[in-house]
Symmetry: C2
Subunit: 144 residues, 2 copies
């Protein structure tokens, strides 16, 4: 019964993607969690601000496709840790420009290096052509 096609759980792309995402995320999580007590969303917010410059909360939501409540809570937590600060925008007082503090910048620099190293190490298992296919397809899938 139900076995005719031989379609397996390991062939099911959402499952496979989740497994791979889970393994890698949990491994990298150790860095920002143990060193800075940060959560995943906090790390992403720091990355965005550090890599792409100051922006508002909703900019981060749009770029990273994270829900605004999650971002809101991450910002609050980072503020408490003194990793970022807010500046109200003159022409629209609903918005606040977020920017890393010097400490936050240091945290970013450290984690950024770590992330690059982590990625390189992980991808070293595959040749350049395979890597390119992987990145291209994942990007495409994420845009579905």
């Amino acid at each position: 019964m139900s076995d005719q096609s031989g379609f397996d759980l390991k062939d099911f792309m959402p499952y496979l993607l989740n497994q791979a995402a889970d393994v890698t995320s949990r491994r990298f999580e150790v860095c920002y969690k143990s060193r800075y007590g940060m959560l995943r969303t906090e790390w992403r917010v720091v990355f965005h601000l550090g890599r792409y410059g100051d922006m508002t909360a909703s900019d981060i939501c749009a770029r990273a496709r994270i829900h605004k409540t999650k971002v809101s809570r991450a910002i609050r937590a980072l503020e408490v840790k003194r990793y970022l600060g807010r500046t109200e925008r003159a022409h629209d007082r609903r918005q606040e420009t977020l920017s890393l503090t010097p400490t936050g910048r240091q945290v970013f620099d450290d984690l950024y290096r770590e992330a690059a190293r982590f990625d390189a190490q992980m991808m070293a298992h595959f040749d350049a052509a395979d890597q390119a296919v992987l990145r291209r397809l994942l990007t495409r899938i994420a845009e579905l």
Copy 2:
């Protein structure tokens, strides 16, 4: 600073994997959630039992790499819905063999078809060679 390497968030594999996993999982979630009020872990448990046959809770934990508390609660929920039943094992009364009820089997059959269709539709965007690379690399990464 920190821009020398040009390493981008979109180059960071854990991030990319999460985005892709998230998009696809959320899309498929609609099927088991709206039709059967099931959670992701419940769907996975049903898949395992339906596709690979009766097994114990810890078999599922090991195969799917899900924590035992999550599996335990999923089993409970599926039992309440009358999608599965338990049979105590004679030689080791700690273990219970789990098996789908006829209703559970129907649910599996329906979702299994849906999953196969979903996967095929998604992968239709890519040629066979790319698909092969994707599956191979993701499997490899998940085993890291």
